[in-house]
Symmetry: C2
Subunit: 196 residues, 2 copies
Amino acid sequence: MKVYGTSVSGNCYKIKLLLHLLKIPYEWIETDTRKGETKTQEFLVKNPVGKVPLLELDSGEFLSESNAILYFLAKETPFFPADLLAQSRVLQWMFFEQYSHEPYIAVNRWLIHFQNKKDDPKIPGNHIKGLDALRIMDDHLSKNQFFGSKQPSIADISLFAYTHVAEEGHFPLSDFPNLSSWIRRIREIPDFIPIY
Amino acid sequence: MKVYGTSVSGNCYKIKLLLHLLKIPYEWIETDTRKGETKTQEFLVKNPVGKVPLLELDSGEFLSESNAILYFLAKETPFFPADLLAQSRVLQWMFFEQYSHEPYIAVNRWLIHFQNKKDDPKIPGNHIKGLDALRIMDDHLSKNQFFGSKQPSIADISLFAYTHVAEEGHFPLSDFPNLSSWIRRIREIPDFIPIY
């Protein structure tokens, strides 16, 4: 299978990390959003939404949305639980990630760390909402080792991607001790690879 | 089971609609975001994210995030396909709905129709991105009857919720003929109930 992705993107890193954890071989096709490579006519035929990551199966079919790709890859593995309520909780945290976490934490990282737009008017509001998301995660981790399941799942991989580099968006991870412990636990999973 | 929800919310209507289609009995507990009822200490114990819909199981456990609740209710029914790739496509469209559709289409409906904030500076930008989402959906429906599967699935229910009332946010549905036909098909599903 092929993965179209921007290497520094957390959404794309999710797929790379899971593929390594599952020891699934793949071809990475660097497709840089910063160079407009997801908005070309050629790419839009593959994914009309114009975003990466994008998975191309050996059959030639495409699948988009990072968290849907994680589900596709993990469904029959220990990274997706067997119990229906646990499965639903994994998805709950992944929808939380895309709605209440990524739009603030990933966007501020993008503006501050990659675009050098430290005065962008969106940053202060995103900062407040991103801190809310980190606080909710930290509270959950005060009573749980992982998100959604008793062992690492694709909910953890999804949330790890932008959380562990949140300081690049000026979010103070040291204020969230349970988050910091969880980040260490994820890094200890066999075959873990870093984003950089 | 109990559903905490704001009746006019598309995210909450998703759950009500699926429960009716599946003929599952439930108790609706009206919880109005406009009155701050999702931000009380009592509610935050149930859902720390402070949002509805929220499902309370007979066991006393809670599940949040509208699309995760849809999965929980539909997993073993015809509204969730059996094939892994089809399942992943259903989720792909549901993540699209929460990231690229709801934040623009639902938010403009909220500002214009419910908050009477027609001059909110977010509206024009949301309008452009919401039209992008509707166009992507309309293009998909030029070759498909439904989203994600060959019969109605929870991807359709998820996308239907805010799409069919998009005109309340000043999105011109009549410009999208395939979307209009799809809306009619959803309304024809046995046991369909309207949002109002």
